[in-house]
């Protein structure tokens, strides 16, 4: 009993010491970093240009308001991305020689749209495709942005889905087939449901990327959060509105990244438990 008590006390002391060290090292680290930045020769200028409280307060309400354009962009695009990405992945996974051209097409799609920088895809859509005259040139540029983002991100997401599909053990498919399901039925009812569940964390990761890339749509004339900040910046000759944009994205994105990390950790725990069982 006394031995256990002593051990518990020792452990408590060790834990306390660890916390103290962590605290001190954190304070010292950030203290030194802050001192370095604040005492840098250009600090006053940079502070005035990037961290001007007056400009920040003036810009923030408008910045938040402009962010709703981005919300429209990434919510609409995400829905389309999840559908189109899964379609491409399934097409790439179709078995049998008959589907060879389909597989080639899906592969080319994924390769091309991952190869071209997103900003160029949006630019080409917004300035070239819209100029063909096939659709009303007055179509709101936001739609070309949504389509462009959907093309780029569905290519990435199709790869995520495909990795998920390939991670499902072949015995699952074999078992389904032996029960009389067709190849497509096996894909639909056995493989894809398991695959999708496994890739939710990486899908969330791509969703975060998509959120941030909505600012690229500013390039084709849409006044969204980044463009709005740019207008403010140019009017005030002060870069602080960009910091407001950064803050909005931090507030929106970090909870999602935490959720993603938590899901990944939970999955790892579950699969480890599964392996033991």
């Amino acid at each position: 009993m006394t031995v256990a008590d002593a051990r518990r006390r020792r452990e408590r002391r060790r834990a306390l010491r660890a916390s103290l060290i962590a605290l001190v090292s954190t304070v010292v680290f950030f203290g030194v970093l802050t001192a370095l930045v604040v005492n840098a020769p250009g600090w006053a200028t940079v502070q005035e240009s990037f961290l001007n409280q007056q400009v920040f307060e003036d810009a923030l309400p408008g910045v938040i308001n402009a962010f709703w354009v981005n919300v429209r962009l990434f919510v609409t695009a995400e829905v389309l991305v999840l559908i189109l990405g899964l379609l491409i992945a399934v097409l790439r996974s179709l078995p049998g020689p008959v589907f060879f051209p389909v597989r080639v097409l899906a592969t080319v799609y994924a390769d091309v749209f991952r190869a071209i920088p997103g900003v160029l895809v949006i630019f080409i859509l917004g300035f070239a495709i819209s100029g063909l005259g096939l659709i009303d040139p007055r179509t709101d540029a936001i739609w070309f942005g949504i389509i462009g983002l959907t093309f780029v991100y569905s290519a990435y997401v199709s790869e995520v889905y495909r990795a998920g599909i390939e991670s499902v053990h072949p015995s699952q498919d074999a078992a389904a087939r032996s029960l009389g399901l067709s190849r497509l039925q096996s894909l639909r009812y056995v493989v894809v449901p398991q695959a999708v569940r496994r890739v939710i964390p990486p899908l969330l990761n791509d969703f975060i990327g998509l959120q941030k890339d909505t600012v690229l749509v500013s390039f084709i004339g849409v006044v969204e959060i980044f463009r709005f900040a740019q207008i403010k910046q140019a009017a005030a000759f002060n870069f602080t509105p960009y910091m407001a944009v950064a803050l909005v994205f931090i507030v929106v994105t970090i909870p999602l990244t935490r959720l993603t990390d938590w899901l990944i950790a939970r999955d790892r725990r579950q699969s480890a438990a599964g392996a033991r069982g």
Partner: protein
């Protein structure tokens, strides 16, 4: 013809995105402002020129490269501010216009200011300064930046802006077959979709002078706005008159200048210098001298004659 969209053009536009923002500016009544908007340009000539004569002596000027006046502007350097050489050549790395030949409005102004400060033709060098970089904090690579920067009080917070060396109006460019092509009043423009380059007074002119009912489209470059105009995404582009002249003559076939806007706050082009530069007062004195001896007006009518020929919008 120009509206045919080639891959080369996409790449070209993409290449100048962000960096190139030769922002247009000004929507002042062209006659009044030299007296009202820039009192020092007219008034300071007599008292301060003599007062700081030795402070502005060539050898006592704090310039980036001793013995040389370093002027900056964006690349491409657009006509009519910068013109190519008579034989069509340009000094590397300049595109479209060549600042080093003293032809083109701002090139000529640059050399005229240099002359006032005591620098000869061969004592002037030009460096490329992207529009936004002129105001970014940090060490400047130029002494004086001439890039069609219109004066704004907010802008003067991060950089020194000289007195005005050009006073002109914003104008509206549309396609010749547009219903707006024959419009003479601002009231008739309300339902149009208009575009402008980000961060310009052209954008402000749309907001304040037209106040359209539809969303304004904002582009990184005038080139992108012009492309959108050419393919019918927008009804019109607002730019300053000299830029409008270049667009309708060179950049976009079948486009036309509908009119120029008067009213609003008088605005004018300023040279950009480092914040609190001792050179600024000397440049202001040079500009005042050039205004007083008629050089500014002469250069404006030589390189920018259109300001008198484009009709003015009624309210």
């Amino acid at each position: 013809m120009r509206t045919t969209f080639t891959l080369a053009r996409i790449v070209a536009i993409a290449a100048v995105l962000g960096a190139c923002t030769s922002a247009g500016a000004t929507n002042a009544p062209s006659a009044a402002p030299s007296a009202s908007a820039s009192p020092s340009a007219a008034a300071s000539a007599v008292p301060s020129a003599s007062a700081s004569a030795e402070a502005c002596a060539k050898d006592s000027l704090a310039v980036v490269t001793p013995g040389t006046l370093t002027l900056g502007t964006d690349n491409p350097a657009y006509p009519p501010y910068f013109l190519e050489n008579a034989d069509g050549s340009k000094t590397d790395p300049w595109e479209l216009g060549d600042p080093t030949n003293a032809t083109g409005f701002e090139s000529a102004i640059g050399y005229a200011i240099a002359d006032q400060l005591g620098f000869g033709r061969d004592e002037v060098t030009w460096v490329v300064v992207p529009f936004a970089n002129a105001f970014a904090p940090g060490v400047k690579t130029f002494d004086i930046d001439l890039n069609q920067v219109s004066y704004k009080p907010e802008r003067a917070q991060t950089a020194d802006l000289s007195d005005g060396y050009y006073f002109g109006n914003q104008s509206l460019v549309v396609m010749k077959d547009s219903p707006l092509a024959s419009v003479t009043s601002i009231a008739a423009l309300k339902d149009g979709v208009f575009g402008a380059q980000v961060g310009t007074t052209s954008y402000d002119a749309i907001v304040k002078l037209i106040a359209p009912t539809k969303d304004i489209k904002v582009y990184d470059t005038n080139d992108a706005a012009i492309q959108a105009l050419g393919q019918g995404t927008i009804d019109g582009v607002v730019v300053d008159l000299p830029t409008a002249d270049f667009i309708t003559n060179v950049q976009l076939a079948d486009s036309t200048i509908v009119g120029q806007f008067t009213g609003g706050t008088p605005e004018y082009f300023s040279a950009v210098l480092t914040k609190d530069s001792p050179l600024t007062e000397c440049v202001n004195e040079s500009i005042a001298a050039l205004a007083a001896d008629g050089t500014l007006d002469a250069l404006a009518s030589q390189f920018l004659p259109f300001q008198d020929t484009v009709p003015t919008f009624q309210p």
